[in-house]
């Protein structure tokens, strides 16, 4: 096997040194009943060439050469070449969590830069070193709010990504954390403030909204914050489209921002791996789950970084930890870090402006379902979205997400996303079918 470096003579020499005649004796202490008395029923190992071929064959069974207008939490943005160049370096790719600070300054420094950029983007004081993804960041934010406020229930907007809400319900069900949902305004697609007011009571730990929300609409963060704070609850603002932060006012009134960075040079990759993020106001640092990198000095007085505030985490506090999270998404967060570096201050703005322009070009050709202000995706009113998508596929276009599956009342809704990767010609073709 080509990944095993020993020659047979080396193996024999080592066995001999161990006082073992045959490799099987290494397992002699295992009870007979637990031993697998046969080879694994898996095919024989194959060569590199055959592996490449296998995955090429699988890729051929997927969509190839299609334009796409899918968004809904996963966005198609150009990935600068520098991103893979950096993350392919073995020093980043094949290193472990940076517990040994002396020989991990590369990863630690990059994470410190990541934390800083996320604070600059979101307007929060502290950002952690990443969570699994946006969907799991939501229950972590909810649990954080429960710890911080000493209250037990959370309310979440129906305009938060439906799969994120499902994940929250899974976590909440077994913790005695009641979750109530509140609606959106049928005309605008923004949160229904009256419904929120009805469901927000003094026992509420967190109000969770998304902006831009699942329908692409920039939502009422400030008002939601005022309402939450009046009742002693925290406001959690979720985002799925990180590029929006290049141009949209950040959720500075939130207490916790829980988001997904997939838009920052992370391949759609059929749903993962992505990188989630939690960013919070200063007062919540000690309630925050996940790893944090802090600045310090070494024995020579030189600036150095290390993992810090680890007493919040599972390997120390065990059943009293802020979360059970251990592995995070360091390499994916590094992709986002390189992306933010490449685009920088001006570039992220220009990229966001292009997205805004593309989506607004597309909307001008179809019938929007909501009147709320949106960033790069919106709901179009389409008679029979499934049939429309079939017609689009014939033109080698994957249309938007039909919303009936998530919102029965929006069976005539199709969530369309346009990014810098969509051309005017593609959009004109979509308009022709949907008009």
């Amino acid at each position: 096997m080509r990944y095993l470096p020993k020659s047979n003579s080396e193996r024999r020499a080592m066995l001999e040194a161990c006082g073992v005649a045959h490799a099987d004796e290494l397992f002699a202490h295992l009870p007979e009943a637990v031993r697998l008395g046969r080879p694994l029923a898996l095919d024989a190992g194959i060569s590199e060439y055959e592996i490449v071929q296998y995955f090429r064959d699988r890729a051929a069974e997927n969509a190839n050469g299609y334009a796409s207008f899918l968004g809904a939490g996963v966005y198609r943005h150009y990935r600068p070449v520098l991103v893979d160049t950096v993350v392919s370096r073995g020093e980043f790719l094949t290193s472990y969590t940076p517990y040994q600070a002396e020989i991990s300054q590369g990863t630690l420094t990059a994470i410190f830069e990541f934390q800083t950029m996320l604070c600059q983007l979101t307007g929060m004081d502290v950002a952690n070193a990443s969570m699994y993804d946006g969907s799991t960041a939501v229950p972590e934010a909810a649990m954080m709010a429960v710890r911080a406020t000493g209250k037990g229930r959370v309310v979440i907007a129906r305009s938060v990504h439906p799969e994120y809400r499902e994940v929250l319900h899974t976590y909440a069900r077994h913790q005695g954390m009641p979750v109530a949902e509140f609606g959106y305004v049928p005309e605008a697609g923004t949160i229904d403030l009256e419904d929120l007011d009805r469901k927000l009571d003094p026992l509420t730990a967190a109000v969770i909204i998304q902006s831009p929300n699942f329908f692409g609409i920039v939502d009422q963060v400030k008002t939601a914050a005022e309402m939450a704070h009046r009742r002693g609850a925290l406001l959690v603002v979720v985002f799925t489209e990180a590029v929006s932060m290049g141009i949209v006012e950040p959720p500075v009134d939130a207490d916790i921002v829980a988001g997904e960075l997939q838009s920052f040079a992370i391949s759609p990759s059929y749903g993962g791996p992505y990188a989630g993020i939690l960013a919070v106001k200063e007062k919540l640092i000690r309630q925050m789950p996940g790893r944090l990198v802090g600045q310090s000095i070494d024995t020579h007085g030189k600036r150095a970084f290390c993992l810090t505030l680890a007493t919040r985490e599972q390997h120390i506090r065990r059943e009293k930890a802020t979360s059970n999270i251990c592995t995070n998404q360091a390499l994916i967060a590094l992709m986002a870090t390189v992306f933010m570096t490449v685009y920088g201050k001006e570039g992220l703005r220009e990229l966001a402006a292009q997205n805004l322009a593309k989506a607004h070009y597309l909307v001008s050709k179809v019938a929007p379902r909501f009147c709320g202000k949106f960033f790069n995706e919106f709901v179009a009113r389409v008679d029979g979205p499934e049939d429309a998508n079939k017609a689009l596929l014939k033109k080698k276009i994957i249309g938007g997400v039909p919303l009936g599956r998530f919102y029965p009342e929006l069976a005539d809704g199709m969530l369309l996303c346009a990014t810098e990767m969509n051309t005017r010609a593609e959009m004109d073709a979509v308009a022709e079918v949907l008009a």
């Binding site: 040194a17 202490h29 090429r56 472990y96 800083t116 759609p268 570096t341 920088g344």
Partner: protein, 492 residues
């Protein structure tokens, strides 16, 4: 002022923010082919942000140099042995990186029509089947994003099944040698944690278990082999004790690298378990993630698995969302697909026999290290070990040198430290897991280094206590970092 250069320019690399200057750029967007829009009009003036204060502004050359220089400050498997116990730091085949970037896989959107995602679905189905065969379990979900996430999924599955049988119960039993994620997971799943003391030989104390298992116990969470690298020889008996009381056996699969092709959890009584693809199946750790934590279960748990489930419908794969007993989703979409591709590529490369050979080499390396180091380091538990071996610093502590110091000195010899101070049942633990990735020469060099350090600890303890001496960064003041946390850069 001239910046002093030691060894190489890369030693003085500043932070991105300190490198920035206004107007520098590393990007160019295509010309917009639609009319530009006024942000204030499109978004509402109150929703348009001011510039992102402090955000980096660097050129492309500076960007690549920055990250390349940073990278040289890291140790990595590509440099050498990484004997972190419990972490299974093995070689990451580069072919796996290549195939994960195959365009129509990497750019597949989770909501693209099933008919246009058959390749991705086939990859997942094949991996599920392979993991079921390797573990001896009946069904696998690939949704969990990492090991601890898999643990949570697994415990929720147990909860759901017990609930359906009438009572979810209150307690989870966890040996004192367990990973910290186990108790943290049980707590998040709404269970009280009760610790079981390990026996004198460092394994599960079956007599104690028998006492503790009541109608109130939902499950025992056990790592096998345990964190001492010792196979739980009474595992079948433990499973019988649990099952007799209607409780379940959960296995933390962190140490599966000792068992693949040799023994299957499904054959020794395990009901639910998770795997860490970033350990046993070689997907890169990437400085802390991403991972993937598939959960494998026995048939009675299958109805409770997270939705959606892959389902064969004629010649096509489809998703089954209508699963009324499901615990629900634990993550958006279907799992960390890119990680799953890499794990499958690893399994395909090895094949059944190759996987077993890897296990044999991993165990051989650990047994060999134990044999060579036993004369120099205290071995608190003499039971036969599998893929890792745990020493204690007892002999060196007499000279004031602790496991953390020995570990730091190892850096000067060109190795990454072993796992320090874990498991908790060993005072001053040195937990060493070489994996199958190391050849005889590298292992012998490691052994020589450890022997040399043992001698230094006696002859010149201060040399060891102040290590490392050869790194760019010396010991970092973690106390100062924690007392006055500085968690982001701010302009001076």
């Amino acid at each position: 002022m001239i910046e002093k250069v030691r060894h190489h320019l890369s030693q003085n690399e500043p932070l991105l923010f300190e490198r920035s200057s206004p107007g520098k750029r590393a990007y160019q967007l295509p010309e917009l082919d639609v009319p530009a829009v006024d942000p204030a009009e499109a978004l509402g003036a109150e929703n348009v942000r001011a510039e992102i204060a402090g955000f980096p502004e660097v050129s492309e050359v500076e960007a690549i140099r920055h990250f390349t220089r940073l990278s040289t400050w890291n140790y990595a498997i590509d440099h050498g042995m990484y004997p972190l116990g419990s972490c299974t730091m093995k070689y990451n085949p580069r072919i796996n990186e290549l195939v994960a970037r195959t365009e129509a896989l990497a750019w597949a959107h989770p909501y693209q029509p099933e008919a246009l995602a058959q390749g991705s679905m086939e990859v997942m189905a094949r991996l599920e089947a392979a993991l079921a065969e390797i573990t001896g379990m009946d069904a696998v979900t690939l949704q969990p994003a990492a090991g601890a996430h898999g643990e949570l999924t697994g415990i929720l599955l147990i909860r759901a099944l017990l609930q359906k049988r009438g009572n979810p119960r209150r307690k989870i039993l966890i040996p004192d040698s367990a990973h910290g994620t186990n108790p943290a997971t049980a707590a998040i799943a709404g269970y009280a944690v009760e610790n079981i003391k390990s026996s004198e030989s460092g394994v599960l104390d079956v007599a104690a278990l028998e006492q503790l298992v009541t109608d109130d116990v939902a499950a025992l969470m056990v790592t096998n082999p345990n964190t001492l690298g010792v196979f739980e020889e009474n595992i079948i008996h433990a499973a019988e004790i649990l099952h007799a009381k209607g409780a379940m056996l959960y296995m933390d699969g962190a140490n599966m690298n000792a068992l693949v092709g040799i023994a299957r959890p499904g054959d020794f009584g395990v009901d639910v378990m998770h795997l860490n693809l970033h350990k046993t199946f070689s997907t890169p750790h990437g400085g802390g993630g991403p991972g993937a934590g598939p959960v494998a279960v026995k048939a009675p748990f299958e109805p409770f698995l997270p939705a959606p489930r892959l389902k064969r419908s004629g010649k096509r794969w489809t998703y089954d969302y209508k699963r009324k007993h499901s615990i629900g989703r634990v993550k958006a979409f279907y799992g960390n697909f890119g990680v799953l591709v890499r794990a499958l590529a690893y399994i395909l490369a090895h094949g059944g026999a190759g996987l077993r050979n890897a296990t044999v080499d991993a165990v051989l390396n650990a047994v060999y290290i134990r044999k060579k180091l036993e004369p120099y380091y205290d071995l608190p538990y003499p039971s036969p070990n599998m893929h890792e071996v745990v020493f204690s610093d007892e002999r060196q502590a007499r000279h004031g040198v602790r496991t953390g110091d020995l570990a730091k000195r190892l850096i000067d010899y060109g190795f990454h430290p072993y796992t320090v101070s874990f498991p908790l049942i060993v005072h001053g633990a040195l937990m060493i897991e070489p994996t199958e990735t190391e050849g005889k020469m590298e292992i012998d060099q490691f052994v020589d280094a450890m022997i040399s350090i043992a001698r230094e600890a006696e002859a010149d303890p201060q040399l060891v206590k102040s290590a490392p001496h050869g790194t760019r960064t010396s010991r970092v003041d973690e106390v100062a970092a924690a007392r006055k946390p500085v968690l982001r850069w701010k302009p001076a």
